[in-house]
Amino acid sequence: MLKYTLKRLLNAFVVLFIVATATWFLMQFLPGTPIRNAQKLTPEQRAQVEAQYNLDEPLPVQYALYMTDMARGDLGDSYLYGGRPVTSIILERLPVSAFLGTQAVVIGLVVGLLLGIISALKQNSIWDSGAAFLAVLGVSIPDFVLAPLAQYWLALKLGIFPIAFFESWWHSVLPSLVLSTSIAAVVATFTRTEMLEVLGQDYVTLARSKGLSRVAVVVRHVLRNSMIPIVTIMVPLTAALITGTLIVGTVFSVPGIGEQFVRSIFDKDFPVIMGTTMLFAVFFVASYLIQDILYGIIDPRIRVAGPRE
């Protein structure tokens, strides 16, 4: 198990290194200069600005400097915001996204599990079709459609929620709800499929014929065994959160990390783009790592061979 974990960990670092290198070099191809009013500056001023950001060094040196700084946890300084360190920008915005995301995952998991359990237990009933319809809607309506619509009807027309900004807990409810829909839909479909499979197993028939109550069978045998593969959806969930907070953050003007990413793209604030990209990559790689390790713990067969498919 230790060897397997170490192998996955090494793999994760290779991925992060490749992402960092690829992103850094791609940034060099981006059109335009990061220096504002570059034409108006005297050569001396320009040299001074370039020296401040190590832009006067040759590319390989710049790359080496950036990578060593990053290894020490320093992501450089923003080109905007008066040269503020990128780490401090990220640290300021990350908690907002994390809070929104966690709240959305909790809502999505609860709603999704309930929908999935109901439709599996009442298979082929009107409840099942209803839940299936909701799940298809949840997956098919993108956040960037749902968010403006929810903002229009629930916030503007009905006035139930604040329209935008992030000032109190109440402000976080609507963005979280929008974020949670796709999570709930994925969880519901997944739970239904898994439960139906477990319900057909011999040990469930045995538990029933033993005289266990329906509730006991479902809670103790079916649910427990269906929950194991829910680990599989960890990565899609994380991915949904990253892209989700981006859209929701932009629509509802929530000062999260996604909103900063979009803003930096338009500002050509390379250090911030680079820093947020690395943050997303770390999130993503970490969720894969956790998923693989959890798999190894749950299913001993995987430890030897490594996960397949």
């Binding site: 793999n11 490749i18 992103t23 298809v136 960037f144 968010a147 403006p148 979009v262 990209t277 894969y288």
Partner: protein, 312 residues
């Protein structure tokens, strides 16, 4: 219980010898039904999937012919007819801030979105299928190296790759397709690899091989036909993902640039003016949702029809 007590007397004249010949036993009653015929029969009985297919065809027709149904053009700006509300007698979907007919713009946008989705899907399937098939067919060291490479690629967030590609290439139809195709092919490759690995183990493959079939014959006659149905199913799920992603990139401003339209660009415009002109958002959003829902439903139907074992 009267019947059980009744006596039945059997006499020889009640029986008649069956006329059979060895020829009759060999005759097949009813026309033989092939794989595709069987799949079509199963698909036809799935009303939901057929309806979804019909709606997709309708959307395709409107995307191609929609702009010709009105006397207006999608780009013609007429400033004295700004923000007309949708009506049956005038502009069916209303007009935008430049007086452009939204009906025309929505269908032109749909056309662009579907075109990008088709290009991206072609790249995704083409690269993914070739990569997965080569990796599985040759196996061994090559497979190992190729799979490690995919593992690393999978670890990179799709969003990051797509955004970087869009930043480096100029935003446009081709760069959007490349960004979407470049990020999607890994899952197709894994799918195809799994299927080819399974086929390689089967007896018919071994039989053909021991009869002396070469690589070309094995791939063309045995692997491709048996992988084809998986590709069709994958296609149905890739198209809506691509439409979705195109809209997403256009929504954050990295996709189709004005005055050109795509569903994402229209939704983005609409969302900004939603407060006063909600119809600018609702029509393109509805078309996008209809496309994604119906492709998914048709995909589910095709999966059930082509691969009954996978049925959930």
């Amino acid at each position: 219980m009267e019947t059980s007590n009744r006596q039945i007397t059997f006499t020889p004249d009640l029986f008649e010898p069956v006329q059979r010949s060895s020829e009759d036993a060999e005759r097949i009653t009813g026309a033989p039904i092939g794989f595709w015929g069987d799949a079509w029969r199963r698909l036809k009985s799935n009303r939901l999937a057929i309806t979804a297919g019909g709606i997709i065809i309708l959307i395709l027709v409107l995307a191609l012919a929609g702009p010709w149904l009105t006397p207006y053009t999608p780009y013609g700006q007429v400033l004295d007819r700004q923000y007309q509300t949708p009506s049956l007698s005038g502009f069916w979907f209303g007009t935008d801030e430049f007086g452009r007919s939204m009906f025309d713009r929505v269908w032109v946008g749909t056309r662009v979105s579907l075109y990008i989705a088709a290009l991206a899907t072609a790249m995704d399937i083409g690269v993914g299928m070739t990569y997965g098939a080569i990796s599985a067919y040759y196996g061994g060291k090559l497979d190992n190296v190729m799979q490690r490479f995919v593992e690393i690629l999978v670890g990179i967030p799709i969003l990051v790759v797509a955004v970087l590609i869009m930043l480096v290439l100029k935003p446009g139809i081709l760069s959007l397709s490349i960004a979407i195709g470049a990020t999607g092919w890994t899952s197709t490759a894994r799918l195809i690899r799994g299927q080819v690995l399974r086929l390689k183990e089967q007896e018919f493959f071994l039989a053909s091989r021991s009869l002396g079939a070469g690589t070309y014959r094995l791939i063309a006659k045995h692997l491709i036909p048996n992988v084809f149905y998986i590709v069709i199913i994958a296609l149905m799920y890739t198209v809506p993902t691509a439409v979705f992603f195109e809209a997403f990139l256009s929504f954050i401003g990295l996709g189709i640039q004005p005055p050109n339209a795509s569903l994402g660009a229209l939704i983005n415009d609409g969302a900004h003016q939603m407060r006063f002109y909600p119809y600018l958002l609702i029509f393109p959003a509805a078309v996008l949702v209809l496309i994604t829902i119906n492709f998914r439903l048709l995909g589910d139907g095709l999966r059930d029809a082509l691969d009954p074992k996978m049925r959930k």
